[in-house]
Each structure stands twice: as structure tokens, then as C-alpha cells.
Symmetry: C2
Subunit: 437 residues, 2 copies
């Protein structure tokens, strides 16, 4: 059966999370978790759903970019796309005129992610499988054929990628069974957003511990004395044996990052996340080197805009945890490239999630990574944030602080029609009410 | 007098340059040189004009982004902005919601450039000076107060920037006089676009030589044998003593770049421009190292998206010519940071120009660089392309292959009303006619 794409629709969907300081950090004080939400329709009735995550204002710009890409998608069939997915990826990312406003970065790349996420969802639905299982069942050659190796062959060739995947065929079935039974380990960021009160933080830690969580991330970077106080509080709450990570959301310059984080070393954070500009590879390398003697490692990636940047972070030993993002990189295609490079450089992948739908999507990628690439759970965990899952038709399922593999066909990226309807910006009921206040 | 900004208007202006292959290269086969063109109006009648350059499709996305930024500008006075220009720059680039879709890269940063270019034009007009002269007459402290040093203090502190500017006060007046008399040296890219025939190329070289040009850039990277043939042809045309540069517009991977350019060494190019991804700092460093023994240097920058990237290119010795762009970096503010870093690292600046308005704008920056920062013309020249100047009210003036300093107040960024009107996309007459064909 041929699935011809006959329509692409995109919606600006926003949730007023800033009202309660959910998601607040040192650089994003008032995020309204949002998405450019894409629905592609085929002539046989099957649909694909995709999105990219944003934090409020500016979502309309990404929507505009999705509309600009739509002409490259509508009229093609799913079969045509997947028969040369590398070529289709490059069609979207290397349009001779549109690449000028990227290339492969910022708004246009976020839009590319939204569109391709919908295509991958469509593919998985057409096969009747959850996306992770579609990937797991794929021939290594076909996996590799989805990746654009342009600009990364000095770090990973097509043959090397193929070799990695072939080697990991061994034990694949056991790892799939293990995941279905136990799930993939997660950590929580829900307890310690910047804007939360101490009382709120304590209560959330207590609840999380009761629910079996053992790994906790908190936001730092606004005020050093306040960070020390909050680090002490959370370390007391979680005890000496649980894991603490800290996240500065790009707040510092290089020297400042080293000095500030050194002051927090007594609380034994596993990593400092986003200490400085997401573009500063050499800066992250300097910070990594300075903090290594303190036993603190560097994590980054949620705003690392493409595989060329990740390649250099790996080449320069500038990160010790790779935080892929399902909606900033160019969808599954580019994430595959990064997973394979991370494996070659032997750096663990700990995906970024949260926001709207990021947990739902990225769990598929990390399941594939474990089953078919890394075969390793050491120092690996996937972020989890407990917000907005109720708006999805197949919300992420957490059991004993682990992501349980999704079972529904697709990329878990479909939102409830009613949620989309009421949260459309600015015409949905939620916004009509808020904006008229 | 207070100049309160009461309106910001933005227009999608496109020129159908692809019809004649002007601007064609290995990655951009059919550019339609375009601009998101901004006009800000004040309550006292004075206006500021700014733009960012694009190459056709996607310009509407940048327009959308400018509209999203407009709310941060309208209602402010020019005096309020310039009294804390660093703060205003950060207001635009670090909005807690919009920075997510950047930060400081791609569409949102191009839009920032367009808006700030209009503010600088307004300022220069309010002072009755061409922009370069406004900068030259400014106190070093005020120059430095326009720069956001966030993320670059490990390479250049505010005090170091100030010291550079103070030191260059010596001889300033002589250099200004010299520029007014002789102009700033330029090179031409007009002779050898990828899509031109040999006949066209020969004729254009002959004409350029007759007009006094001594430095020529050609496009390479589509086909090696064809590059060899065309390099040979142009070297024969210009003779052994004139300067040849080659430009691959990001066509290659790292290893491929080294192999390909080595084959062109016999034609003695001064530099290879954009050999690979604009994001690949370490790749450019590897290419620089490999080509140095052949006497070929590496130039890049027209798609280097912000000061953090330029900082690393300099730290890693990844370029030997810094090609600033007036419309991709965050306007004059961010270009000042890059000029000062380039000086500290002792790497010559050779601006990117061409397109629509890039020559008009960037000449101001390089004049300031010579008079107030570098005090050096060795190995320095500004790109010139002979297209579309007729659409500006104060077009760039070339005499003896040199840019003559503009005399009209402002940033030379105002387009003729009639040009804007007829080239508006898609409703202008030019496009109505083309699109109905």
C-alpha cells in the first residue's frame, strides 16, 4: 500500500506553565511550554503526528518555517521518502535558498525536526509498531541509509556506523526483553525548578523518594549563596547515596562556571549541565578539564543544534554526558548519527526530556540506543519531568523510576485533539481567557 | 531632542537574481538575493533603515521573526537604547522565551541584525554622520558599552577591549584622512560565479582588470576537473602577480577539502573560503594545518553565526582571515566584539559582502576597523560584488578598486522606495509578472 502525503497542517500550541513557575531556570524565568505541532495526512487516511518543543513567544516563527517546508513534503509518498531517507533529509536541510537562514540550526532546524518527527511517526504507524521497535527491527544497512554523513566523516564513516550496529546485534533480543520487563532508568527534574519555594521543593523530594526515584536534578546559576543553600537542602533530603545533578542553563562565562561549580563540589553533583553557551565547545572543554579533579563532569546537548556540533564536543572531550534532544536535532535521522558517534567516543547518552512531548518522543531513541548501539546502562539515564503528559494519546509510562517501552504504534507524538483545540495560540479557549484578563 | 520609536515596519524584498545565475555557487545554485527590510519611524519624523540579507525562500520566516521582536523596540526612545546599548542588545537576544529558538543563531539572530541595523542607522542619522564616522568619533568607553561580553571573557575582557581602542587612538586622524583620500582596498567576486560560462568569465576578467582590480575570487567545489580548468583560465587571465582566492561555500567534508584544495595549489590561491560546515571549528583547524605547508590559508565567517563561534575559530587557529558579515552577526554591536577579538589574536579581517546591501553596510565596519582598531592594511581587503547597488539611496562607491568612505548620514541601508515597492514578495510588480508566467 502506498501512503501519499496529501496535506501538512501545523498548529501553535502553548501551555501557560509560567503561571506556576514550572520549567523556570536561570535563563528562562517564565517559560510557557509550547510546540509547533504538525499533522500530515495521507490519501489512505493514515496520519503522522510530529512536533518541536518551544517555550512560548517565537513559536509562531517556527510555525511559519514549517509552512515553508511543507511544499517539500506534500505530494511525496511515505515509500518514496523512506526508500531514500538520507536524500529526503538533505532535501529539507539543504534547500539552495532556505539553507541560508540556517543551515541546520535555529528556527529552520526546529521546523525540520517537527516535520520529520511526523514522517517517522507515520512510518511507524504504517508498520503498526512503536517507533523504537521499528528501529530495533530494522536492518543495520537501512538504519545507516537514514543518516546524512555530510560533515561528520572525519569522526564517523558510514562503514564504522555499520560495524557498530552489526556488532551490537549480539544480545539484542535479551536487551529488548529486559527493557520490556524493567524499562529504561530515568531521573527526575520535577522537584527543583528555580522558581519553587523550599517548602515545595521538600514536599516534591519526599514524594519522589516515596515513588522510588534515586536520581535528582536541580537548577542553579542565579545566585551562588542561594544555590549552596538549596544544594544543601536537597542533598539532605535525598541522602548521601542518591545521585544529584545540577543544571545552570548557560548562565555563566567559562571562568565563572569553574569558580561557581567548584563552590558546589561539596554536594557531590554527578554533572554540571549547560555551564555556558551551547555553542562554546572549547569553553566546555576547559570547564571539563578544570572540574575533573573535583569529580564533577559536564553534560550538555539540549541546545546543541546539530551533529556537527556534537561531533566537535566529542572530539574535544568537551562533555562527559551527551544529552540528545528529539526536537532540536533533525529528528530520528540526525539523532542516529549522534548516538553512533557517542558510542564510538565511548561517552554515555543521557537524553534531554521534559517540556511538551520530549519524554514521549526521546524514550524511543534511548531504547534503541540501549538495544542496538550501546548495550550498556552504566552511568546512563533518561530525564523525566512530570508535566503535560495528559495531553498525549500515548503518554510516557514510568514504573519504579524507569520508562516502560511504549506499545502503541508510532512515535507517541499525537496530542489529544481537545488539548490542541483549547491551547491553540492565541485563539484557543485557554488563551482567550488569559489574554482577556 | 528625544527620538521615540513609534513604529517598526518590515518588508519581504526579493530580486530574481537566479534568472541570470548571479550569486550561484556549489551550494546555492539559484539564489534570489533578498532582504528582510526594516523601517523604524520616530515621533519626530526621523527614520532608521535596516536589513538582513537572505537568498529567496525563507525570507518570510525572517520577516515573521522581525515582527516578533518589534514589541521590544517600539515605544523605546533612541536615547534610552543608546544609553544602555549592551542592555538593549541583551534584551533582544536573551528574551526568556525567544532565546530557545536561537539563541543568537539562525532566523532569530538574522532578525535581530535587521532590527539593530535600523537602530544604528537611526542613531547615525540623528547625529548627522555616516555610521563609520559616528563610530570613529565615539569615545572608546562608549564603544565598549555597546558590546555584550557574555561568553567571550575567556578570550577578551572589557578592559582588554578598552586597551586596544585606547592604543589605536594614536594616528587615528591620519588614517581617517588616508581613507577619505584613497579608500579601503577591495577585491571582486563578480567575475566567476559558478553558473557563468567561460566566455562570460573571460569578458568579466578583462573588464575588471581594465578597471584596476588586482584581487579576484572564484567559486569552486562542484567538480574538481572543472575547477582545475577554470582556475587555470582565471590565473591566465589575471596573470601571476594578481591575487586569486577560491570559495567552496561549505561543499566538502574535512578530508575531502584537504585533498581537493591540494589539487588546486598550483594556481596559488591566497585562501580557500568556507571549505566545510560553518559550524566545524575543529574541522577548519585541521584543514588550516594541512594546507599551511602549501601556502594556502583558510577564510570563513559569512555564516559564522555569533561571537562565541568566532571566538573559538580564533582560539583554535581555525581561520587565517576573519570574514565578518554585517547582517548575520548581531549588527554593529556584535561585529565590534569580533573586530576586537580578531585584533587580539592578530588575524586580519576581510569582510563578506555582495548580496543585497552587504557592501553598503560592511564598508562602515571595516573603515572603523582600520581607523580605530587594526591600523593595518596588510593582507586586508573588503569583498565587492557589483549587483543591486542601484536600489540604494547611497550606493557604495568604488574608485580604483577601493571603497570610498560614505558621506551621507546613516548606515547606507536605505533602499529606494520604488525598488522596495516593485520587488516586494509576492505582491510587487516584478514578482506578479514572474509568478504569472
Amino acid at each position: 500500500m502506498v501512503h501519499k502525503i496529501i496535506k501538512l497542517a501545523v498548529t501553535d500550541v502553548r501551555f501557560p506553565t509560567s503561571l506556576e513557575q514550572h520549567g523556570s531556570d536561570a535563563m528562562h524565568r517564565d517559560p510557557d511550554y509550547s510546540a509547533a505541532y504538525v499533522v500530515i495526512s495521507t490519501d489512505v487516511g493514515l496520519r503522522g503526528y510530529g512536533l518541536t518543543f518551544t517555550v512560548g513567544r517565537g513559536t509562531e516563527i517556527v510555525v511559519c518555517a514549517v509552512e515553508a517546508l511543507a511544499g517539500l513534503v506534500v505530494g511525496k509518498s511515505l515509500e518514496e521518502i523512506i526508500s531514500d531517507f538520507r536524500g529526503f533529509y538533505r532535501l529539507l536541510t539543504s534547500d539552495g535558498q532556505m539553507r541560508w537562514i540556517g543551515p541546520e540550526k535555529g528556527v529552520i532546524h526546529l521546523a525540520t525536526a517537527a516535520v520529520l518527527n511526523a514522517v517517522w511517526d507515520l512510518w511507524a504507524r504504517a508498520e503498526g509498531k512503536p517507533l523504537w521497535k521499528l528501529l530495533v527491527d530494522m536492518d543495520p544497512k537501512q538504519i545507516v541509509s537514514c543518516i546524512d554523513f555530510r560533515y561528520i566523516t572525519d569522526a564517523l564513516t558510514e562503514q564504522e556506523a555499520l560495524d557498530i550496529l552489526m556488532k551490537a546485534q549480539e544480545g539484542k533480543q535479551q536487551r529488548e526483553d529486559q527493557m520490556l520487563k524493567e524499562g529504561y532508568p530515568a531521573y527526575t527534574t520535577s522537584c527543583a525548578w528555580m522558581g519553587y519555594s523550599d517548602q515545595q521543593l521538600k514536599q516534591l523530594c519526599t514524594d519522589a523518594l516515596n515513588n522510588g526515584w534515586t536520581k535528582f536534578k536541580m537548577k542553579v546559576g542565579a545566585d551562588l549563596e542561594d544555590d549552596i543553600r538549596r544544594c544543601r537542602l536537597i542533598r539532605q533530603m535525598i541522602g548521601p547515596d542518591n545521585t544529584l545533578m545540577i543544571d545552570a542553563n548557560q548562565r555563566w562565562d567559562v571562568g565563572e562556571a569553574i569558580a561557581w561549580v567548584s563552590r558546589l563540589a561539596e554536594f557531590r553533583p554527578l554533572w554540571i549541565e549547560e555551564p555556558t553557551s551551547p555553542d562554546d565547545i572549547l569553553g566546555h572543554a576547559a570547564i571539563s578539564k578544570a572540574l575533573a579533579p573535583l569529580g564533577i563532569r559536564v553534560a550538555t546537548g539540549e541546545q546543541c543544534h546539530n551533529r556537527v556540533m556534537f561531533k566537535q564536543f566529542l572530539q574535544a572531550s568537551a562533555l562527559q554526558f551527551v544529552q540528545i534532544d528529539s526536537c532540536r536535532l533533525g529528528s530520528v535521522n540526525e539523532n542516529l548519527a549522534v548516538l553512533l558517534m557517542a558510542h564510538k567516543f565511548q561517552v554515555p547518552v543521557c537524553p534531554h526530556a521534559g517540556g511538551v512531548g520530549l519524554c514521549e518522543l526521546v524514550q524511543h531513541l534511548i531504547l534503541f540506543d540501549y538495544i542496538c548501539v550501546s548495550a550498556d546502562l552504566n552511568n546512563r539515564m533518561c530525564e523525566y519531568v512530570d508535566h503535560l503528559h495528559e495531553h498525549f494519546t500515548s503518554p510516557a509510562v514510568i514504573r519504579n523510576a524507569c520508562y516502560m517501552p511504549p506499545k502503541d504504534p508510532g512515535y507517541s507524538s499525537e496530542m489529544l485533539e481537545s488539548s490542541v483545540h483549547t491551547h491553540q495560540y492565541p485563539e484557543g479557549d485557554v488563551w482567550k481567557t488569559l489574554l482577556n484578563k
